[in-house]
Subunit: 366 residues, 2 copies
C-alpha cells in the first residue's frame, strides 16, 4: 500500500534529521531524495543547445555583469583597500586567499545539487552491468523513475546509490565518468550543460580577484573528486585549489601499477563546521575573503572574518525566480536564514541576484 504524502513527508523529515545528525558523507544525495516537492528527473527542456562555449566578456569594467550598487561597490572597495601598497589595510599577495562555496554560489543548485543528478545518471549508465538492480531497491525504483519509491528506501537507499556510483572504482575511473557526464548531461529546466549554469557575475569576480593577486579556492560541501575534473576549465581554479567533501582512499596495485581506490568511508564532510576544518587542513591559511549562499557557508564566513586586518564576507541571495530560482529562509535544504541575519548584523555583503546582477548565466553560443 502506498503511503500518503503526509506520511512520506514525516518520514523524510525524520530521516533527514538522522542523516544530518550522523553527518553522512554524501549529504548532498539526501538533499535530492528528501526534498518532498521534487517531481523527479525528466523535465528536459526542448531548448537543447549544441556544442557550446561559454563567453566571458573582456571589457574595461572587470565586473561588467554587476549593476552599480552596494554589493559591487563593497567588492571593489575591499579589493582596493587590501591592494593599496603602503595603505593601512594592505595585504601581501601570498595572503590574498579567497574561498568560494560552489553549489548555489558559483553555479546553480536547483532543483537539486548537480552531483545528485550525476549519481542518478550513473545508476542508469551502470544498470546493464547490474541486472540485479531491476529488482533491488533503491535501484529498481530509480530506474523506473519512481522517486517516491526511492525516498521510501530511506537513508539506507541513499547510501546505496552514493556507494554504487562514487566508491569502489579508482580515482582515475571516477574522474573519467565525471568528465563524460559533465560534457554531455543537461539541466532538466534550462537544457543547458551544467557547466553553462555557472554565474557570469561570479566568473567575473573570480577573474577580478585573481587579477588583483588573489588565489581563488573552492571550499564546497560537494565532492572534491566530482569538482576537480572541470573546475579548472570552467572557473580557472586548478585541482589543488579545490577543497570538498571526500571519502577515504586506499593505494592498491592493479596490473602492476599503483591505483587509488575510492572507499565508502568518510574522510571530510566539508560543510558547516567542516568548512573551517577543510580550509585549515587543505589550505593552512585563513582566507581574507569568503563567499557563500547558505547557512552551510556561515562557519566559513565567520572563520574568514575572525582574522585580523581587512576581511570580506559575501552571501549570494537567490531571489530571482524569473532568471534562476528563489529560495532562502524557508528552503528545506539550502537554507539561508541564520546566515542572513548574521550578515545583516555584521554588515557583510548580501547580493540580490535580482537587483545586483545584470545577467545570471553566461551567454552560450553554439
Amino acid at each position: 500500500m502506498a503511503p500518503t504524502t503526509t506520511a512520506i513527508y514525516a518520514r523524510i523529515v525524520t530521516e533527514r534529521r538522522r542523516i544530518m545528525a550522523r553527518r553522512l558523507p554524501m549529504l548532498i544525495a539526501s538533499a535530492w531524495l528528501f526534498t518532498p516537492s521534487h517531481a523527479g528527473p525528466g523535465r528536459v527542456s526542448s531548448t537543447t543547445l549544441g556544442a557550446s562555449t561559454v563567453q566571458q566578456g573582456v571589457a574595461a569594467d572587470p565586473l561588467q555583469s554587476w549593476n552599480d550598487g552596494a554589493a559591487k561597490r563593497a567588492i571593489i572597495a575591499f579589493v582596493e583597500r587590501v591592494t593599496t601598497q603602503g595603505g593601512p589595510d594592505f595585504v601581501p599577495v601570498p595572503e590574498r586567499i579567497a574561498t568560494f562555496d560552489n553549489d548555489g554560489t558559483l553555479w546553480s543548485e536547483k532543483p537539486v545539487p548537480f552531483q545528485v543528478m550525476f549519481a542518478f545518471d550513473r545508476v542508469k549508465a551502470l544498470a546493464p552491468q547490474h541486472p540485479e538492480w531491476k529488482t533491488k531497491e533503491p535501484f529498481a525504483s530509480l530506474l523506473k523513475g519512481d522517486m517516491a519509491g526511492v525516498v521510501a528506501t530511506g537513508e539506507k537507499g541513499v547510501l546505496e546509490i552514493m556507494t554504487a556510483t562514487h566508491t569502489g572504482m579508482t580515482t582515475d575511473e571516477f574522474s573519467r565518468s565525471v568528465q563524460e557526464w559533465i560534457t554531455t548531461a543537461r539541466h532538466p529546466k534550462t537544457g543547458r550543460l551544467y557547466t553553462e549554469m555557472v554565474y557570469q557575475p561570479m566568473l567575473e569576480l573570480l577573474a577580478y580577484l585573481r587579477a588583483n593577486g588573489f588565489k581563488t579556492f573552492i571550499v564546497s560541501g560537494g565532492g572534491v573528486e566530482f569538482m576537480r575534473p572541470w573546475a579548472e576549465r570552467v572557473y580557472g581554479i586548478p585541482p589543488e585549489q579545490v577543497v570538498g567533501s571526500s571519502g577515504k582512499l586506499k593505494l592498491e596495485t592493479r596490473n602492476g601499477r599503483p591505483v587509488l581506490i575510492k572507499l565508502a568511508e568518510i574522510d571530510l564532510v566539508d560543510d558547516k563546521e567542516g568548512k573551517p576544518v577543510g580550509i585549515q587542513s587543505r589550505i593552512g591559511r585563513r582566507p581574507i575573503a569568503a563567499f557563500g549562499n547558505s547557512d552551510g557557508d556561515l562557519q566559513m564566513l565567520e572563520w574568514a572574518t575572525a582574522g585580523a586586518g581587512a576581511r570580506f564576507a559575501l552571501f549570494v541571495h537567490h531571489d530571482d525566480d524569473a532568471r534562476e530560482f528563489a529560495y532562502d529562509r524557508a528552503d528545506k535544504l539550502q537554507t539561508f536564514n541564520v546566515g542572513w541575519d548574521e550578515a545583516v548584523a555584521k554588515g557583510w555583503t548580501v547580493v540580490s541576484m535580482r537587483q545586483d546582477w545584470k545577467t545570471v548565466f553566461p551567454r552560450v553560443t553554439k
Copy 2:
C-alpha cells in the same frame, strides 16, 4: 632494577614494530625514542651562530651547488624536455607539479627528525605549567634527560609526549609555538638553526623548477602544522602547498571567536602508501616529478612515475658523513633500501650527496 641494553633493544624493536603496524599518527616521535644508539639531547655545539640569514646565491647557473654529473644532467634534461614548446614531452604549466619529501630530502633528519626535538623542547617549556610531570612518566625521565627512561615507557610514553605537545591547543597557538622554536632552537651537532640545515642544492632545485613553471609541493611524513609556519620563508613553499601528516581538527568558539582545536586523533599518515593518498586528497593532480630520500618516499615516486608522459624521480642518498650524515640500507628508521634497488632498476636518479653536491648547507652569515 635497570634493564640491560640488550633487553631495552629487544623491547624497542618490538615496540617499534607494533607502532609501525598500527600506523600511529606521530611515527616521527617513535623514530627518536626507539633509536637505541641515541645518546640523548644536549650535545649542543659550542659553535653558536648569531642571528643569521641564509644566503641563496644568484648566478648564471641555477644549480651552481651541484657538481657536473649524471644527477645534475638528468634534472636539466628533464626540465628541458617538459618545457620545450612543441616538443613530444611538453607539459603545460598547470600540470608541472613537483612533490618533495621534507625530512632528509630538503633538510637534515639526524640524529632524529627535528619535529621530535621540537616535541622534547616543548615538554621542557610546558613543564612549569605541569608540576605533576616531575613524577609522571615519560615526562619525568625526559625532564631529567634520562632517555633510557623515556624509552622504557614504550608506545604509551611516545603518545603522551606527542599528545601533550601537539594536541589540545588551537591551531594558532600551535603555530606560534613552532614559530618561536624554529627561530631559536639549534641543532645539537652543528649549532645551526634547524632552518639553516636545509640543503643548498635543493633550494636551488626548488627555485630552478619554479622558474620553469613548476608548482613545488612538500609531501612529508612530518606534521603539516609543524612545517607550514616556516616553509614559505625557508623554501618558498606556501602553506597551501604543504602536505603532511595531520590530526583531526574541531571547530569551537572561545571568547566569542571561532578556533580550531588540534585533536588527538589521526587524520592522515602521510608516509609510504599514505603519500599518494595525501597527494590525491590535497593536490588532486599527479606530480610529474617527485623527490625523496628513503623507502618512506617510494610509493610517492612510484605514483608520480606511473603517469603518462615524461616523468622524473630522484632519491637523495645520504653518503656524506663528513659534511652531513651517512645512512642507507641498514638505517633502522630512515631506511633507504627497497627504494634504492628500485631506483637502479628503473633508471631513477640517485644523488650522491658526497659526489653531486659542492656544498650541503647554505652559507650562514651573522
